[in-house]
Amino acid sequence: MTRLQIFHRSIKVVFIFLCLALVYYQIIQSKRYQQLSQANRIRILPQPASRGFILDRNGRLLAGNTLSYNVLITPEGTSFPADEITRLSSILSIPARQLKSKYNEGYTAPFVPIVLLRGISLSQAVTIGQFKYDLPGVSVQAEPKRIYPLGSLASHVLGYLNKIDAWRLEMLKEYGYKLQDLVGYSGVEEVYDYILHPRDGGMQVEVDNKGRLRRILGFKSPQGGRDIELTIDLEIQKIVYNNLNGHTGCVIILNPFNGDILALEAFPNFNPQVFQENRPSLINSLLNDPDSPLFNRAINGLYPPGSIFKIVVATAGLEKKKIHSQDRFFCRGDMQIGNRKFGCWKMHGWQDIISAIAESCNVFFYNLGLRLGPQSINEYALKLGFNQITGIDLNGESTGFIPYSLWERIKRRQRWFAGDTANMSIGQGEVLVTPIQVARMMAIFANGGILIKPRLLKSIRDGDRIIDFPSKHGIKLQISKRTLNIIKEGLIAAVNESGGTAEILSDMRVSIAGKTGTAQVANARAHGWFVGYFPVEKPRFVICVFLEHVGSGYYCCRLAKNIIEQMLEKVYCD
């Protein structure tokens, strides 16, 4: 074979090799590369829609939207746009270093816009618009942004928004949520996110290598989220907010018949706007604050109920027929149980059940509790809604805890002593409740024996249509009218009789029934409770006031008095 023949052979081999390579790429691998080619030329330009409004029960705005302006830069090729960055830094008065790091963070590919800065002012946006020809590649995009016009008011009801995180995205992906979406992290923003969340629209466009639009391939119109109306009454909420401001604790006002939460405020609170402003230092200070302002004390806080729990013991005693309304115990100021002395806060003398509720006599309830035993108290506590979530439409509600002897045995490997029963009878020891549970229990006596389900969502507005959200029917409890009336009498006496623990609420334009509580805590001042309802004749409101470490329930009565007075002035006029 001559060398020319060898040359000819090798040419043949080379051409066959090229043909095989083409078969591999153009036929076998073609599908994959066709997709890559599509990805090259097709861009989705998102058209952000706005999140639904949150309104109060009368249609007043609690959370809305405004337009926010973002600065975008479209990198041309791989070179760093140093000129534009310097100019922008002088217009926005932000160090170029910061913009540069944003640029490097956001860079994905040439011609894909990078958000350099969110939420610039309108005047800055206009300035950038004027320098348009000196700033090629820089653009300003308007985007709806959440605003909370009332600041931190009702923050624990509303919750806050933040960028979706990995596990939420995993969970919500199939409902059309995307990376970079804002989702509710607490409050109704979280619970009703599926109603409020906007469905972003967008344009599918064909672009060239510079990202310039060639033609529009498709369009999906953005769909704003739907508005929701809460059961909150803004007027009452404001009154509550102003009175509670500065304290640590919470106030809940609800309708005892349908469970509508008219006001719910917990302090310390936070301003949900902070999460929209992109200021990590403020967010971090909220997250690391030892007072935990993001913690909703009204539904998550677990506290001993103190004397409030006597209502449970009294109900159990009457229902289990361990006591009659005329039965009396003598209070000497303390009582010997086992080898320990259990105190009362005062020497009450002879007490029947009504005066014992009114004057909050511990000795009476030690005796009654010992007659009932822990199992019966536990049973009635559960009946009145403790040790279970109330079902309010907020996430992460605590269940609380009501001890029972078997638990003591199993968990603690200890026996249940009579002293434990005595402690339980006055709402101390292991008993833990949430303020919302206490408010719900009071509603039972206001509405005549129905265990309601508190709710925050009143209706959904879909365009012009208003879809009312029906309140859940409460559970009619098996408690006799007689028992309810006796307890009610006790609650009324607590306010209206001299010596009643809530006496300062007596001289008001409206008649009030209620019960105070002072919850002892180890190594700190006691928590204070007041829970009641008004007007007595035709109950419309249940009010629960809880303050941390104020020493006694008296302060809560005073706070409740101020709130009710202001409500009478502004809201409740008949």
């Binding site: 153009q26 036929i27 590369y33 290598n209």
Partner: protein, 365 residues
């Protein structure tokens, strides 16, 4: 003109028409009017090329034998002129302004090297040069290498690594065809392998980057690897029938750089698919087979080396260019003969085929 001549002219006109059609498609969305009319300039070059083809098909190739060293000298002078007065375009100094057009002497140098080497190895006798394999190393390898080195180094300084390497490959291949002793060729190849680490040090950064990208385009997908990735996407997304003329999104929307010059095969393959590419490859194969046929039938050593040298220029450029568009060869600035836009390459290719026609004509006598 013989029957063979007409067939060859028909074949190269078909191939260069495919080129014009593809250039038209690639440039029709060009922002400037001059850019959109590039296909007309290519047609003009085809006519100039045809003229050269006819002229050189009439001049006896034995005249080239006489003139070979003069051509060599002219080629080197042109390259020197590029080095000192050349135009700088796309970051490289490769062009020379002659009269009204820009000319790329390195394209011409490819042909001159072939003529020079054919002349060198056929100097002993004009019959079959069978004595070459008995030449010593100095005579058979070293002396011609020194002559090849000079233009190679000049081209390297432009800088145009691709063409320089290409000329070296031509050199080795012609040594092979000229019956130089096997051992010498093996010795050179071994020497290159051993010199690789040293040569690597001499490369410029962007040249190193291109070679690294060839090994793995994804190390720099937006920089050096961008072209290869886009070109692979263009070729492979064409599938069996292609996206259709004027409908290749990679070239129409400018994702593919150099879509009408070095990467014209990718543009063509995207729009015409596997079938189109196969037909193009077949046409190229026929063209090269003609050169080999002529070489085999040529009566003298010079004609045989010249014809096969022309075949080598075409086939190596075709292979490297197509392999480069599908990521099987590093990105080097070699055009696809007859298809890529560019006057120098086109005219030189036509010219060399004119020489081929002349060689074929002389066989008959």
């Amino acid at each position: 003109m013989t029957k063979f001549g007409y067939k060859l002219i028909l074949l190269i006109l078909v191939i260069s028409s495919i080129g014009v059609i593809t250039i038209y498609s690639c440039t029709q969305s060009h922002p400037s009017l001059a850019g959109r009319l590039l296909y007309l300039r290519q047609i003009k070059w085809i006519f100039i090329g045809l003229t050269c083809l006819f002229i050189f098909s009439l001049i006896s190739y034995h005249r080239l034998w006489d003139m070979a060293y003069i051509f060599y000298a002219i080629g080197v002078i042109l390259l020197l002129m590029v080095t000192f007065t050349g135009l700088i375009r796309l970051g490289a100094q490769r062009w020379l302004k002659i009269l009204w057009f820009n000319f790329q002497p390195s394209e011409l140098m490819k042909l001159i090297i072939v003529i020079f080497l054919a002349r060198y190895f056929s100097r002993a006798d004009s019959t079959l040069g069978s004595r070459v394999h008995s030449w010593g190393f100095i005579e058979a390898v070293l002396i011609p290498f020194i002559f090849v080195c000079l233009p190679m180094l000049l081209i390297l300084t432009q800088p145009d690594l691709g063409t320089a390497i290409f000329i070296f490959i031509i050199f080795i291949s012609i040594l092979f065809i000229a019956q130089v002793n096997y051992k010498f060729i093996l010795f050179i190849l071994l020497g290159i392998v051993l010199a690789c680490p040293l040569l690597w040090q001499l490369l410029k950064d962007y040249q190193k980057a291109r070679l690294l990208v060839f090994l793995n385009p994804n190390i720099d997908p937006l920089g050096a690897g961008y072209t290869v990735i886009q070109s692979k996407i263009a070729v492979a997304s064409g599938w069996l029938f292609g996206k259709g003329w004027l409908a290749g999104s990679q070239s129409q929307l400018h994702f593919l750089p150099e879509s009408h010059t070095d990467f014209i095969f990718a543009s063509f393959a995207e729009e015409w698919g596997f079938l189109g590419s196969l037909i193009l490859l077949l046409l190229y194969y026929f063209l090269i087979r003609y050169t080999i046929k002529v070489a085999q039938r040529s009566s003298d050593c010079f004609g045989r080396l010249l014809a096969s040298g022309i075949g080598l220029i075409l086939s190596i450029q075709i292979f490297i260019n197509i392999a480069m568009t599908i990521g099987l060869a590093p990105v080097v600035g070699l055009p696809l003969p007859l298809l890529s836009y560019g006057g120098s390459s086109l005219v030189v290719t036509f010219l060399s085929l004119g020489i081929l026609i002349n060689i074929e004509k002389r066989i008959a006598f």
